[in-house]
Amino acid sequence: MYQVDRAYSYIFYVSLVLYLVSIFWGLFVTPEDFVQGNSYRIIYLHVPASFISQSLYIAMAIASAIFLIWKVKLSAYLVRSIAPIGAITTFIALISGSIWGIPTWGTWWVWDARIVSTLILFIMYLGLISLHDSFSNHEKADKFLSILVLVGSVNIPIIKMSVEWWSTLHQPASITISDKPAIDLVMLYPLFGSIVGFAGIVACLVILSSKLQILRRERNKSWIKNYV
């Protein structure tokens, strides 16, 4: 925990600077998009959030597998502490996506498979939190939570496939930017920077959240008194 405390500030400042610089670059320096106009600049806020929200679930699944196989108690804490962070990033992705939808699609919500799957992800994060909180016995709750996360991770490839089916049957009108030829390099660099920076910020949040989790669960242990 001491090492993590020391690393935390480095991660935080580096990723914050990277994120802010690439957001600034994306908002003011990159040229206007020909198809969507200036509203495409939301991509620098939307794509990192939706990308990280899915990778956080995969991280949770890996942590819960580690917990179930090797009984590492820390990874169970990690599963519990990632869940609210994942809910927040998914919320950001949903909100920014629907605001982006107003100027580009003319409506703030489309029952498109990708949007619905993000909503499902959000509901699942909330459900995981409520399941864990309903048990007063934390060890049992850890076990059930990690089982549910593992079973739920089956959903991710299914969701990916359903996106393909959906777009084959329904002609997507002017929905995605992936129809265009590949993104120009001038736009790609700040996007990449904002993804990495946002990942760093989210990692800091996960560190804080798991620290809170450790302090809560281990409050009766003697080493925690030395640490505090």
Partner: protein, 215 residues
């Protein structure tokens, strides 16, 4: 063989357990046209939407106390330490529930389909899909119930509900392709594939969960 008979008798005598969900299903199917204009030509479109949601909710209702009573009177503990393998007992239990609730609902659902859409072809084709779907739903919801065994059934089924939503997309696609006379066997094969994985995996997971509950 003995255990199948035993579970069948147990569920048959508890008529609230199997008759209630079927009646709720019939009630939903009878009541929803009242909210739509009778002559509305979109009725058979909305029929399928209501049908899948009704099956989903009824299965949620049906698995409400699938493990709870056995857990409370201690017979689940007896099963867990008996000679017969515990996942086998659980899969038998789920199968009996499907036999007494899922199969009647599939028959009634395809009859309603005949009544609403006036198309025998559609009603015949929807029947196997309903059978497979209800079995998948019952499996996943009993997993949810096992998760929140002592905490009431609502929480666990709510948590597992999002797992089933991609399946609803597949079902919608299957109905569209039946309507357009396209080949829908791919969707049936996909549902069967999902079922064949679930049918083996879910009893194993549930037995692990219930053992954790009994600790």
């Amino acid at each position: 063989m003995n255990i199948i008979k035993f579970e069948l008798l147990k569920l048959r005598n508890k008529s609230r357990g199997w008759l209630g969900p079927i009646l709720v299903f019939i009630l939903i199917m009878v009541a929803f046209p009242l909210t739509v204009e009778i002559s509305n030509k979109d009725l058979d479109q909305s029929f399928f939407a209501v049908l899948w949601i009704a099956v989903l909710l009824v299965m949620m209702l049906a698995t409400e106390d699938i493990f709870l009573e056995d857990f409370n009177d201690g017979s689940l503990e007896q099963f867990a330490i008996s000679d017969i393998s515990f996942p086998y007992i659980i899969s038998v239990k789920i199968f009996i529930y499907w036999l007494l609730i899922g199969v009647p609902i599939s028959i009634i659902g395809s009859l309603f389909c005949l009544g609403f859409t006036n198309s025998g072809n559609l009603a015949i084709n929807i029947f196997p899909i309903l059978l497979i779907t209800s079995y998948i739903f019952i499996n996943v919801f009993s997993f949810g119930n096992a998760l929140s065994l002592t905490k009431g059934s609502v929480l666990g089924t709510l948590v597992t509900l999002p797992l089933l939503l991609p399946l609803l997309i597949v079902l919608g696609k299957a109905v569209i392709s039946i309507n357009l006379n396209l080949n829908y066997l791919g969707f049936v094969a996909l549902l069967l594939g999902v079922l064949s994985i679930i049918i083996f995996l879910i009893p194993l997971i549930i037995s692990y969960i219930i053992r954790a509950h009994l600790e």
